[in-house]
Amino acid sequence: MMEQVEHAHHIVGPGVYVVILFALLLGTGLTVWASFVDLGFWNPIIALAIATTKATLVVLYFMHVRYSSKLTMLTIGAGIFMFLTLISLTLADYISRAWGNW
């Protein structure tokens, strides 16, 4: 029983949280700086890439998913998959509405 409890939940310590905090602050600084530079087509892509990196760090470490069960990972994977389905099918509709009419 004791052994089970010890294995059950990995406790993430302050050291990891501090490192992630600074990574997130750095990412925020980076994305604001990048928005002041004119990169044309690349501006939104870089902003979203940095946002996704920050979100991934939050999910993996602040939300402990890196140390979570496979069930939790699968649940999150299903959520992300549904969201991407929503985006891609909606955009596929709007992009293809004028198909052949130009």
Binding site: L24, N43, M63, M82
Partner: protein, 251 residues
């Protein structure tokens, strides 16, 4: 055939086994109970992903349709306040994560301190949001509420915005769609702020309970799952900040 005499003869329940006081009887172990609660919390967060996902999808579609209006609308947002709010929220996520650690390692005063800091940073976020909302009201940028197209049909009337972006005046049929931008702006940041307000309310409740030692005696599920909720709100803001404030600055 079961009759009452048979039921009466059934052996009495086995002696009550030793277990933590907070273990519900329909779970086999504390570990299983915590896993079930965590799984349920993640299922809830997945529904939240789909809820905000719908709003993000609407924003994406309309931004592509009325691109010029969305760029001009975005130029009305103040990057300084947006950045400050992002920093406030990231630091509040850090204090919340530290709170979870304090609960897990049974540090009562540390937990109360972390929860209180998270509470105050959450209020700070809403305060900064209020400053931004007030500016929108003063400029008549609230959809359906004395909405004014002046900023978009005559950009030079606002020297502080014009000097930074040099926007060209929009044609009237495009300028009207800036109202759609601000509809989505208020809907998305408003729903986000509502989640913050609910979170701050729960934090106040948790601070009172934590002072009485509620989460530092081994039963950390509530703090853990509230942490997941708080970090999720942080993630939503990370994307809102990028999409609403940043990506249109140079377009």
């Amino acid at each position: 055939m079961v009759d009452s005499s048979q039921i009466a003869q059934v052996a009495p329940e086995p002696a009550h086994e030793e277990h933590a006081a907070y273990l519900r009887h329909h779970f086999e172990s504390v570990e299983q109970q915590a896993d079930a609660a965590g799984f349920a919390m993640w299922l809830f967060l997945v529904t939240e992903v789909m809820f905000f996902g719908g709003l993000f999808t609407a924003y994406l579609v309309y931004r592509n349709w009325f691109y010029a209006a969305f760029v001009a609308g975005s130029h009305q947002l103040n990057v300084f306040w947006g950045t400050l709010n992002t920093l406030v929220l990231i630091i509040s996520s850090f204090t919340m994560a530290m709170g979870v650690w304090c609960a897990q390692t049974r540090r009562r005063s540390g937990l109360v301190l972390c929860l209180t800091l998270t509470f105050l940073l959450g209020l700070g976020f809403l305060g900064i949001k209020t400053i931004e909302y007030r500016e929108k009201i003063e400029k008549h940028h609230v959809p359906g509420f004395h909405y004014s197209l002046q900023s978009f049909m005559d950009p030079q009337s606002e020297p502080e915005v014009y000097s930074e972006y040099h926007d060209k005046p929009l044609a009237p049929d495009m300028a009207v769609h800036t109202e759609l931008y601000f509809s989505l702006y208020f809907l998305m940041t408003g729903m986000h702020a509502l989640h913050m307000i609910i979170g701050i309310g729960i934090l106040a409740f948790m601070i009172l309970r934590a002072r009485a030692g509620a989460y530092t005696s081994g039963h950390t599920t509530f703090v853990l799952n509230f942490g997941l909720y708080w970090h999720f709100i942080d993630i939503v803001w990370i994307y809102l900040f990028a999409l609403l404030y940043l990506i249109s600055r140079h377009q």
